[in-house]
Amino acid sequence: MTADAGLPAQAPAARGDAHRAGSAAQVLTARDAGLVACTGCGRVYRATQARCRRCGARLSSRDETSLQRVWAWWLAGLIAYIPANLYPMLKTTTMGHELSSTIVGGVIELIDYQSYSVAVIVFTASVVIPICKFIAIAFLAYSVQFRRGRGRGGLARQHLYEMVEFIGRWSMIDVFVVAILSSLVQFQFVASIHPGIAAVSFALSVAFTMLSAQSFDSRLIWDADEAEDT
C-alpha cells in the first residue's frame, strides 16, 4: 500500500546546482528557493508572506527561538522529574496503616505480586521513557546547535525525533493509574488510596517534555546536515 506515489521531488533550480552534489544536498528546500513553507499544511509562499492563506498558521522559514524554548521546557521537565521520584505517588491506607510508595516503589510492589508484565509496562512508561526522552531531546538540540550532524545522520535523527514525539505522551499512564486507583479504592477504614504530590510533579514533567519536543523545529536537523557540505 505504501507505494511511493511520486511527487517528483526536485524543483527546477536544484538541477542546475551541480556544486551541491551528494545525496541529501540534491534536495532543494523552500528556504533555498527564497520561499517560505507552512508547516501546518505544506503550502509554499514567497518569503515576504507572514501568515498562511490556507490554514492561517504563522509562517517562518526557520523557527529561530525554537532551541531556546526546547531547552527551557526541557529544564523545567527535568526539574519537575526530581520530586516526582522522591515524593510518594500513592498513599495506601489499610486498617489504619499508611503506606506511601514512590514510582519505583510501586514497580517493586508489582514485582512482589508477581505481575511482571505490568511491572514492565509501568517501569517503561514512568522511568525508561522519561529518561530516554530527556537524553534524546538533549542530543537532538545539541546536535543542531553545535552542528554535530556529520553528514548522513539526518534521517536517523528525524526518526529519533518522531519517536520522541510519538512515545512521550505514553508516560502519562502512571498519572491515570493513580487517578483510577484513588477513585476506586475508597473503603474508609478498611482500605483507601490517595494520590501523592509526586503525581502532580510527574504530570507536569511529562507535559513540559512534550512541550519541549513540540518546540523543536525538525527542519533544523536538515539544515545542520547541509551545513556540512558548504
Binding site: 526536485q10 501546518g40 498558521a57 505514553w170
Partner: protein, 216 residues
Amino acid sequence: MSQAMTTDRVECPDLNGLIACPSCDALHYETDVPDGSQARCRRCHTVLMAPRAGAMTRIVMLAATALILMVAAVFFPFLDLSTHGLSQHSSIYDTVMAFSDGLLLPLSFAVAALIVVLPTVRLIAILYAIGPMMIGHAPARHAALAFRVAQSLKPWAMAEIFILGTAVALVKIGGMATISLGTAFWAFAALVVVTTLKDTFMCKLTVWKTIEERSR
C-alpha cells in the same frame, strides 16, 4: 546560497503547484496521488499525502460515533469494585475528581482535560470543519481555525493511554477485590478504536486543499 539567483530560477508563476515537507522543508511538485497510496517526502520519508476513497464521509461518521460514545463513557458506570461486602462504583467523573482535594485540584482539571474535554473539543472541531463539506456545502465559517485546533490538540488527547492505565490499575487491585467492568469501560474502549480508525483516514493535506478549494 545567493538568494537572487535561486528566486529567479524558481520563478514559478503558480506556487500552488509546489508543496514543502513540513518536517524538512524539501520542495516537491504536487501531483495527483491515487486513493489508497501514500506520497512520502523523498528526503526524510515523512508522509506528505495519504488520501483515501470516501475519506470525508468516513471521518465525519466516525467522529460522530466517537462523540456519542464519549457521552456514554462519561455518564455510565465505569468500574465496580467489591470486597468483603463493601462495594464501590466509579464513573469517569469520579476518576477525574479523585485529585480534587487541596493541592491536587489542578491535576484533576488536567486529567479531565486530557481524557474528556480535549478529545471532545477535537471531535467537535473535526465535525465542524469537515461536516458541511461532506454534504457538498462550502466549509463553515472559521472551518480553517477549527481544523487547526483539531490538529494542534492531537498529541494532548490521551484517551488511549487512559484505557491502558485502566488495565494496569485493574491488575494492581485485582488481588484484593472483585472488579466488574461497567458499560462506560466498553464505551471508552470502543471510543479508542473508533478514534484511531478515524485518524488513519485523515489526510491533513487533502483536507486543507479541500477547505481552500471549497472556500472560493
